[in-house]
């Protein structure tokens, strides 16, 4: 069937954030190093959202920025660092000295977070994993619990295993290379845990480099990681993953990662940066323009096309 107005979910970033991210909400932003939804985080800052619980495996620059902008009161994460490039200044001030305000933090491991998304997406009361035995993490996170298997263990006796509870964000936001207007979303390169994070959520916003014709998506249905039925908004926002990268579109801005350790170390410098680059821009298009073409040329990538596969058609 041809797309109708009713199934066209494309909207502006401003409209999508206004519609689906409310004060006090649990907001998941996913993308593991690749395709981090930075532009969406910036729009949340521009709209001045408050009291958010942010769920994100690798809490990195965009999370530090959202915390510094006063949007976040609680963080659920398994890695709170600026990649291998240094520290997150604001996050450390909040956790180490409640400066300028405390931040509630729920600490997990990567697979613990993945399993929370899996449980949330699969509507399970818990998800088992072979982690945490002997760790101090359960002593600071009472949601890490144990279950006894109803089957005998390897030694014939009862076997215990840790479990994590589901996470069901009010909204999950991901960045992707392309989607059609209905929300069929194609991602290549690192695919992380994006599909599960979307299925775990009540609502989902997909930010894309390009909105493409139906025919592009339908020429390769296996490439669709998130089907339209799981998506509520499709936002076109080229370069919206900067300073992270979009495989085949632009490279990672490693210099900015290194710079962030210095920017975020000084609270005033951090706020000045937000004033200039986030609160002082109308939208991500202006942020992109201000960086300038010469800047983007440095992050440009060459071409490496996949060989097509043949889906065949009945003769």
């Amino acid at each position: 069937m041809a797309p109708t107005d009713r199934t066209d979910k494309s909207m502006s970033m401003k409209a999508a954030i206004a519609a689906f991210v409310r004060d006090g909400a649990t907001v998941c932003l996913e993308g593991f190093t690749h395709l981090i939804p930075t532009a969406a985080g910036h729009e949340i800052i521009r709209q001045g959202r408050r009291d958010l619980t942010v769920v994100r495996m690798t809490a990195d620059i965009v999370v530090d920025q959202m915390i510094a902008a006063g949007c976040v009161t609680r963080l659920v994460s398994s890695f709170v660092g600026n990649s291998s490039a240094g520290s997150l200044g604001e996050l450390r001030r909040r956790v180490e000295s409640a400066d300028p305000a405390p931040l509630a933090f729920e600490e997990y491991s990567h697979y613990g977070m993945i399993c929370r998304y899996l449980a949330g997406a699969q509507r399970l009361p818990f998800y088992p994993l072979r982690s945490y035995g002997g760790s101090d993490l359960p002593s600071v996170n009472s949601d890490l619990r144990k279950v006894t298997s109803p089957y005998p263990g390897p030694d014939g006796g009862p076997e215990q295993i840790y479990v994590v509870p589901p996470v069901n964000p009010d909204v999950t936001i991901i960045h992707a290379q392309r989607a059609d207007r209905r929300g069929n979303t194609q991602i290549w390169g690192l695919t992380g845990v994006q599909a599960e994070a979307v299925y775990a959520a009540d609502k989902a916003i997909v930010v894309v480099e390009e909105i493409v014709d139906d025919e592009v998506i339908r020429s390769d249905p296996n490439r669709t990681l998130v089907p339209a039925h799981a998506v509520d908004a499709v936002v076109r926002c080229p370069r919206g993953a900067h300073p992270s990268f979009a495989q085949g579109y632009y490279d990672r801005d490693n210099a900015f990662y290194r710079a962030w350790s210095h920017i975020s170390k000084d609270p005033q410098r951090l706020q000045d940066w937000l004033d200039e680059w986030v609160r002082g821009t109308a939208d991500h298009a202006e942020y992109v323009d201000r960086l300038g073409e010469e800047f983007w040329a440095r992050l440009a990538v060459g071409e490496a096309l996949s060989e097509p596969v043949d889906y065949g058609r009945r003769l």
Partner: protein, 258 residues
């Protein structure tokens, strides 16, 4: 089976048209092949333009160039919007709660909408070994509601007690302390009429008869004391437009229409 519909309406056509009307305003349908295919394709052209069929095989948003012969037909894949793995399909889409209506068939259905697709006779030494659950257990447990289309309305397929309950409705699940997502079977569509129930705690009730069928005929063909709604409507016969769409657009090669 007597129904004097216009143009010698066949049983397949009748069931497909009646089922399609029940899909009004539904968004996602989990369907097998055959009558559910016809019903959902017709609904797409009539009462539910935004309907999306999700197939057990992992296909979402299919745009087949020909009517598919199986739920995994190659024509469903080429040109589809998404093809996902079975763990994703069953875990995230179905168990995740994304399906409005699941279509199921069965060898036996009881008054609560519990289904048997495993055996006739004893499980250990059955007189007939049937294919088993497939994804039926999951469709029942996780769809908002389930439609059952039964070609033959006969006391053997509508028994007072199932030989085996493969696929339990929510009443049986709750009795065991397990809370299912949806309402279980809400519509049973047969050649004789339509039975309905709203959900837990309710038996199936006859709510409509096919043209020319009496309530007494339906009662006689049902293996339990069938409840009957206060007012039993006659199912409006397929319209000319519905039949034309079904015959010319949905299944011109008569893959499923008989």
């Amino acid at each position: 089976m007597t129904h004097a519909a216009p143009d010698a309406v066949t049983s397949s056509e009748l069931l497909s048209v009646v089922a399609s009307r029940e899909l009004a305003a539904r968004r996602t349908v989990f369907a097998g092949i055959g009558l559910p295919t016809l019903a959902t394709e017709l609904a797409h052209l009539t009462v539910a333009p935004d309907i999306e069929v999700v197939y057990e095989s992992g296909v979402c948003g299919a745009h087949p160039a020909r009517l598919p012969e199986t739920i995994a037909d190659a024509v469903l894949i080429t040109g589809a919007e998404a093809v996902i793995s079975m763990p994703m399909l069953f875990g995230c889409v179905l168990q995740g709660g994304h399906i409005d209506v699941g279509f199921l068939g069965a060898a036996q259905i009881d008054r609560w909408g519990n289904l048997n697709t495993s055996v006739i006779g004893d499980w250990d030494s059955p007189s007939v070994r049937l294919p088993g659950s497939g994804g039926g257990v999951e469709v029942m447990a996780n769809s908002r509601e389930v439609f059952v289309v039964m070609r033959r309305h006969h006391p053997r397929s509508f028994p007072a007690e199932l030989d085996f309950c493969t696929t339990p409705g929510p009443d049986r699940a709750l009795a065991e302390g397990i809370r299912p997502l949806g309402s279980g079977v809400t519509r049973v569509i047969t050649e004789l009429g339509i039975m309905a129930r709203e959900g837990v705690g309710e038996e199936l009730r006859l709510v409509a008869v096919q043209p020319g069928v009496t309530v007494e005929q339906v009662r006689a063909a049902t293996g339990w004391e069938l409840r009957v709604a206060d007012t039993v409507d006659e199912v409006p016969p397929p319209t000319g437009a519905e039949l034309r769409l079904l015959r010319e657009d949905v299944d011109p090669d008569r893959v499923y229409l008989r």
